[in-house]
Every structure is written in structure tokens, then in C-alpha cells.
């Protein structure tokens, strides 16, 4: 309202001028429309997107973590398997080694016994052979000797061999007794 000095006095501050109310309403309407139609949807969209982005990032991180955990589990399982395999192999090798050693020892024993037995057999055969040869030689020598001493009468074969045998038996008995 225009300043009307002195005469009328100022207008009461509590009495509104209705066109000003209209201006006020228009102002509020403009601000409301701007917020309602354009600005708040825009910012709400941005805020939602931001929240989604943050949540998406977190989900991704969680997925990666889960994968890492799974991989770790797998590795652990594999490591356990490997350890078990290794210990099993070691045990098998030990067992095999022990069997092998035992077998070889047995084989060695057997071979030794065979060799010994063979040696014994050979020795006894040779002794027998030697004894046989000796008997013949001794017989011949004795006959020769007796023939020279006694003469032709001892040429008779039967007697001769009986005499020799008796002689030899005596010899053996003597040897037995002397042993």
C-alpha cells in the first residue's frame, strides 16, 4: 500500500491484501511443481541408483569372498588327499621293502643250505670214491706184497679176495677204534 503520511495512518499489519495472497500461492505452486514434477524424482532416482550401486558392490564383494572361501576349502581338501596318499605310499613302500628283505633273506638261507648240502654230498662222494680207489690200490699193493712174500699159491682168486677183505675189515676196525 502506498505510504499515506499523517492523514490515513498505516494499514493494519494483520489485514492481508488478497492479491498478495494470490502471489504467495502462485510462488508456492511454482516451487511445489518444480519439486514434485522434476527435482525430487531426479534426486530420488539418483539416490536409489547410489544405494543400488553400493549394495551391488557389497554383493559382489560377498560373492568374491565366498568363492575365495570355497577355493580355500578345495585346496585344503586336495592337500589332505595328497598327505593321505603320501603316507599310504610310504607305508606301502615300507611294507614292500620289508617283504623284499625277508624274501631275500630266505632265498639266501636256502641257497646257503643248498650250497652246503651240495658240498656235503660232493665231499662224501669224493671220500667214497677215494675210499674205493684206496681199497683197490691197497688190495693190489697188498696182493703184490703178499705174492712176493708168500708166492704163487696166493694167486688163487677166491682166497685171495677173502684174505684181502678180511685184512681190510681189520684195518677199518682198527681205524674205527683209533678214531
Amino acid at each position: 500500500m502506498m505510504i499515506q503520511l499523517a492523514a490515513d495512518g498505516p494499514q493494519s499489519p494483520l489485514l492481508p491484501v488478497w492479491p498478495e495472497i494470490v502471489i504467495g500461492l502462485i510462488c508456492i505452486g511454482v516451487v511445489y511443481l518444480a519439486f514434485h514434477k522434476k527435482l525430487l524424482p531426479a534426486i530420488n532416482k539418483a539416490l536409489d541408483e547410489r544405494r543400488e550401486a553400493i549394495e551391488g558392490g557389497m554383493e559382489k564383494a560377498e560373492a568374491v569372498q565366498a568363492e575365495a572361501r570355497q577355493t580355500l576349502e578345495e585346496y585344503r581338501a586336495q592337500l589332505d588327499d595328497a598327505r593321505r596318499d603320501a603316507s599310504r605310499l610310504r607305508q606301502e613302500a615300507q611294507e614292500q621293502g620289508a617283504t623284499l628283505i625277508a624274501e631275500m633273506r630266505e632265498e639266501g638261507q636256502r641257497q646257503r643250505e643248498e650250497i652246503i648240502a651240495a658240498g656235503h654230498a660232493q665231499i662224501s662222494a669224493e671220500r667214497q670214491q677215494a675210499a674205493e680207489a684206496l681199497r683197490q690200490d691197497v688190495g693190489k699193493i697188498a696182493i703184490d706184497l703178499a705174492g712176493r712174500l708168500v708166492g704163487e699159491s696166493l694167486e688163487d682168486h677166491a682166497r685171495q679176495s677173502r684174505t684181502i677183505d678180511r685184512f681190510l675189515d681189520d684195518l677199518e676196525e682198527k681205524a674205527e677204534a683209533g678214531r
Binding site: M2, S12, P13, P16, C27, I28, A34
Partner: protein, 269 residues
Amino acid sequence: MNSDQTLAFETDCHLFQDCGYPAPSLWSFQFEPIFSIGGFEFNKPALLAILGSLLVVGFFWAAFGKAKVVPGKLQMVAEVLYDFVRTGIGRAVIGKQAESFVPLLVTLFFTVWMFNLWAVVPVAQLPASSIIAYPIALALVVWVTYMTVTFKTNGFVGGIRNLCVPGGLPKPIYVIVTPIELLSNVFLRPFTLAVRLFANMFAGHVLILVFLIGAWYMLGTVVGTFFAFGSLFMTLVITVFELFIQALQAYVFTILTATYISGALEEPH
């Protein structure tokens, strides 16, 4: 037009000059029209109101026009303000149904705040809300919303019940309470909403004027100048205080609006 008329007090009067302190008067709220259309005179408060609403829209358009997921500085500041109204007032008072009223609450909060803020903007230096028409316009919007929500939610009878009959009282008391509630909810609430804002900003403006005119009035003599600076300092203190009051009144206006809407949304008892 002389300076007395522009500033609405006797600018020639100083201390010890046999003229009294020229206290601020209602003339401080009367303005020469910038132009006239028919009987209506377009004056400074009207200009400030329009500029204020454009500034609010302009600020948020700059901040939210191309809202980004990763905000710039301006958007971040505006987001804090927006979130304050949306969460701090809307969600806190209305609850789950707040979202559809958030645009209204945001509009009210920032329009009222901007209207108030003009009090401390150099050159403008007049809160648009100290002219009763603008608080009335704001309260009118709130009243229409309040009534619409009340009757839309509860139907006609339920709406009347919501406005007049508070639940949980002994029967005889309703004889007294019902008319009081009706008067309070339908007439006093919008009235007080408008007058509270108006009176606060009106008083704040007068308070600043008292000290500022005082500073000018006491200027001249040595002693007077000493006091004048004291008065000027008080003007600054009051201005800072007013900054606080401006935001507080915007907050009160918006939170009361939210409370009314929340009451209107209540289920019938």
C-alpha cells in the same frame, strides 16, 4: 520522495537535538508500489516473494537438475537439506506414508526459509513473511491439504470424527472437548500457523530496526557515537539471532504441517 519516506523514519533526528527517538513504526512495512495493475500495487515484498521462490527453484535445479550418483559439492549440500526435511521431518513425524507428502514439506520448508532469509540479505532486508499475506498463503495450502487428507482417509463422517472427537476420553468430557477440538483443528491451527510465522518475522525485523535506527539516532556527539557503535554491535548480534530464528520458524512451520497430516492419516478410533 525523501529519505524519511524511503526508510520510514525521521532521518534528520539525532541525540540531544530535542527530538525523540524515531522508533520504527508500521510504516516500515508499507511500501511504494513498483507498478500497479488495476487496483493492485506490486510492491517490494511481492517482488521478494517471487524472487525467493525462483531462488529456491533455481538452487535446487542447479543441484538436482542433473542429479548424479556421485554428487558434486552443490548436490551434496542440497542432498543434506533435502534429507533433513525428508527423513528428519517427513519420516520422523508421518512415518511410512510420508513419501507422498515430502514434496509439500520440502516446498514449505524452503519457501518459508527463503521468505525469512530475505531479512538479512543486503538491499532486500525485509522478510517477505513479515507481510501477513504470505504466511496466510502458506497456511492456506496447509489447511487445504490437511482437510483433503482428513476426509480422503476417513470419509466424511470419519473425517468429522477425526477433527472433533479425540479417542480415549470419558464420555461426558466429549461435550466440552468436541467443540474445542473442532475450533482448534479447523480454525485455530491454520490461524496460529500463519500468525506465528508472521509475528516472529515481524518482530525480528522490528528488533533489527530498533537497534539500527538507534545507532543512526545516537550518531553525532562523541558520547553518542560511543553508544551508536554499541547499538550497531547489537544489530549484528540480533541479525545472527534472526538467522537462527528464520531457520527455526521454517522448521516449526514444516513440522507442524507434518503433525497435522499425520493426525489426518490416523485410523478412526
